[in-house]
């Protein structure tokens, strides 16, 4: 067996580095095609198995919701799987005629629900029952989940969608010989969506909230943490929605959300795989060009005011402790973003990173530590550390050590070897991300939707390669101050709840 390369030789094989270097991604032969209504298509033909990935991003997210309808962006995402005037129905006219009756009962339910503790529980139960009964009766005209059936029988893969703070995406892949189906089905669903089975889906979304937040200690802690860190900007609101608003949002509000944010000019579609670009262009025009443009996307005006002093919260839950520590940092497009990303890698990116070495390996005080920026990209965000202690070590102890390492970084520059490790990982990542049609389509579509430039995300990767030790120290000094910090700690309630003892 051959000897391994000695560690001292590591730096010698480092790849050459230059400011003009472009990643392989920026050189991809992507064809950008914009319809007169503003809808943007990105086509990329790739060799390989005859499959095609379709990823659409809409410039519509949780931040675009108005007061009282939190969770609607996400609920609407669910509704886009319910079909159209043609798909998912046996008789659209009859179905539509029932909507006002169903909505009226839902409105009465909401009116009673609003009374809070004063609400008549018997009346609430009766109205709920009536609502279900009416919606069930409307089902006589519904072909439930027909869109899913058509795609399933055609061999579609990865059919799903997700809603974020900034954008919402819809995606699936098809065998290449069935690519035209996407044009038929998705042009129909953004043209004529029908919000059928609306109230039962509202219940489904409420269970999604319970699954991800209310019965998940980590999910609950994160929701409370964001709410504490943001006083004004909508990044502080949960994308899944506040429970009372999920339970009362109306079909009309969801329709209004669609009308305002789902115009073709707010859509970016990436189509990657075994495609003929000319056919794609022709089909894009034929199926989407006559959809009228909608309102242009208006960025959120609200700016999070500067934080004046540390904010600390405790979240009580019957589970073992963990802590989130967040610092306000600028949006992803800001010139400091690359240095912050490198800082994250230096401190927590892998087993050789500074904080992992100290807290996990040397002291055995934490099971793991992560850092990263979020919850969105378009607006100023939080650089957040997540750390889970190993008893008897405490979250307070870990907090102190994280602050020490941040202070050390302000004083002592990262070594050339540390920076080179980060650069090598970026280089490998840049190649690995070209492996997969889906991953590429996702990145192209997201980059164009957020930054109006599909190359931007690739360029950001290149920018990371030019970050210097001085840049990292500068951003460490700029943002990692106590007064700019929010700390959320999960603690057990004084009286543990029944059941779940540990």
């Amino acid at each position: 067996m051959r000897l391994l390369v000695g560690l001292t030789a590591l730096l010698a094989i480092a790849p050459p580095l230059g400011a003009q270097q472009t990643t392989p991604g920026e050189r991809l032969p992507v064809v950008k095609y914009v319809l007169p209504n503003g809808m943007t298509f990105l086509f990329l033909r790739r060799e390989g198995a005859p499959t095609v990935a379709f990823v659409t991003h809409f410039r519509a997210g949780g931040v675009d919701e108005w007061t009282g309808i939190s969770g609607t962006a996400h609920l609407f995402e669910h509704m886009l799987f319910k079909g159209t005037r043609a798909i998912g129905t046996k008789n659209y006219a009859a179905e539509q005629a029932m909507f006002p009756r169903v909505d009226a009962v839902a409105d009465s339910l909401t009116a009673e629900f609003r009374k809070g503790d004063e609400a008549d529980t018997t009346l609430l139960a009766r109205l709920r029952g009536r609502l279900h009964q009416l919606e069930d009766s409307a089902r006589q005209y519904v072909v439930s989940n027909e869109l899913d059936r058509i795609l399933t029988e055609n061999g579609a893969q990865n059919l799903n969608a997700s809603t974020g703070n900034d954008v919402t995406n819809y995606f699936f892949a098809l065998p290449a010989n069935r690519a035209k189906l996407w044009f038929i089905l998705d042009s129909d669903r953004i043209r004529n969506p029908v919000l059928r089975e609306f109230y039962s889906e509202r219940d489904v979304v409420m269970e999604e909230r319970r699954l991800r937040v209310e019965t998940s200690p980590g999910g609950l802690l994160r929701e409370e943490f964001l709410a504490a860190a943001y006083r004004a900007h909508p990044y502080g609101r949960p994308v899944v929605g506040v429970a009372s608003e999920i339970q009362t949002v109306s079909r009309t509000a969801a329709q209004e959300y669609f009308r305002r944010f789902y115009g073709p000019n707010n859509a970016v579609v990436a189509i990657v795989g075994d495609i003929n670009v000319d056919s794609m262009k022709a089909w894009a025009t034929r199926y989407f060009a006559d959809i009228p443009a909608g309102e242009p996307h208006r960025p959120v005006v609200t700016q999070e005011p500067p934080q004046h002093g540390e904010r600390r919260i405790e979240v009580e839950y019957d589970a073992n402790p963990q802590v989130l520590i967040g610092y306000h940092v600028p949006e992803a497009r800001h010139p400091d973003a690359p240095a912050l990303a490198v800082l994250s890698q230096l401190l927590t990116g892998g087993r050789t990173s500074r904080l992992f070495q100290r807290l996990v390996i040397k002291e055995r005080a934490a099971t793991n530590i992560f850092s990263g920026s979020g919850p969105g990209s378009l607006y100023p965000r939080l650089f957040t550390f997540t750390v889970v202690p190993i008893a008897p070590h405490t979250t307070a102890e870990l907090e102190g050590e994280i602050y020490e390492e941040l202070d050390r970084l302000k004083r002592e520059p990262p070594s050339p070897e540390e920076l080179q490790r980060v650069r090598n990982q970026i280089e490998a990542g840049a190649v690995q991300r070209l492996e997969d049609n889906f991953g590429l389509a996702f990145q192209l579509s997201s980059s164009e939707a957020l930054w109006y430039d599909w190359r931007q995300t690739f360029r950001d990767q290149t920018a990371l390669l030019t970050v210097t030790a001085a840049d990292v120290q500068r951003v460490a000094r700029e943002y990692f101050d106590k007064s700019n910090r929010t700390v959320a700690t999960l603690v057990r309630p004084a009286q543990p709840a029944a059941g779940g003892t540990n």
Partner: protein, 479 residues
Amino acid sequence: MRAPITVAALIAVAVPLVAQQPTDPRAQMAALQIPPLHFTPPTPKRVTLSNGVAVYLLEDHSLPLLDVEIVSKVGVANLPDSLWGVGWQADNLMRTGGTTRLSPDSVDKLIEFYALTVFLSTGNETSTASFSGLSKYTDQLLDLGFDLMRNPRNDTSRVRLIAAQQGEQWRRRNDTPGSVLGRAWNQVLMGDHPLGRTQVTPQEIAGFAPERFRWTQQRIFCPDNLVLGVSGDFSEREMLARLERLFRGWGKCPPGLRPMPPVQFARGPRVVLVEKDVNQTNIRMGHAGGVRVGNTPDYFAAQVADFLLGGGGGFNSRLLQRVRSDSGFAYSVFSVWNADTKREDQFFAGAQVRAEKTVAAVRLMRDLVGSMATEPVTAQDVKLAQDNEVNSFVFQFQNAGEIVARQLGYAVDGLPANWFDLYLKGIQAVTPDQVTAVAKRYLHPDQMVILVVGKPAAFDKPLTEIGPVTRLPVDSIKR
């Protein structure tokens, strides 16, 4: 090297051409011409090394990446019972505990400096190692990967680290309802059989020691048990020479493993309640699965039945349609009908439902399991499952790594190299009657174990309406 695959012929689809109405999506779909797919998936080449180890090779130079996948035909269930906990963490120590010549820190530095991906996993019945990275670092990748497999140091400091982490995981075992459900289910269904273990106990952690880790690693990762796959940017001649060199001097597997003890799945009817103060109830119900993986009508019919009940069929499966879409009881609801080539596995249906619909949801789910035998699936349903499998076959061949990994899986499971072809044909041959027949034979809604994790005070009705309830205190879940 290239074997033509016959599935291409299966997917010719005849769609009637009707008058086109450009604005009506139904007319457009009806008019859709679906050209046949011309695709011959590449076939990995099988080579046997001088020590008898089989290697599957598939070159793909489209990107400068190398992917090496190694599967061992044995796992933790083959260890003496007293070593189960050690075996369960033996993978973690191989990755983090250093080698006889490299300290744990040096290993971490090499992996992260070269941005290599090194993954080791000791499973219950099989184990895997996978190494990947940029092909210009092939030397570093393979030298290190084989050093980790052959010469694990199990450094004392890292044994202590893993002991501390496992101890914390034990402390947190009841923090989420999902963790409680999974552990309780395994205990109720499989007792203390190794297949039902997913959590190391404090007693087992106390027994962690470098020499015990070494004993298990030497027996799980040794040439007689291994099958290799190499895909990506390499040349066959050089790679084979390199592999011969890497295996040189690595002798026979030492004795000491046992065949996995036979597993007995508990039989119901039983209703088991674990109390947890949550507003959403975790439900799982099922029993032994009955079928084995094989080229038999029963296996393929069971696959279709699972698809239509709550497996791959998505929103058009009975569980999703009724429990989620129609009733709004749950966001997540599904079925799993597992099988293995050597033994039967388990069948279950699961969901997370609002607490105040718990009993209604348990009833509905149990009825839907039963409906597979009493309310026959239609020809259209079966065709949905068949069309999905056939039309999506190209997704199984998207990159060289997946193609090779699939062949390794077949080799370890004792399936023929053309299993995928046989599988598609088997699925194609399933009839609605066969689906009903396997449901009648193997699904027994009246004999299921039904496990509920939640807060009974919030339930719609007493759980006793389902049957006599056994309470399982959360602290009596042994692992």
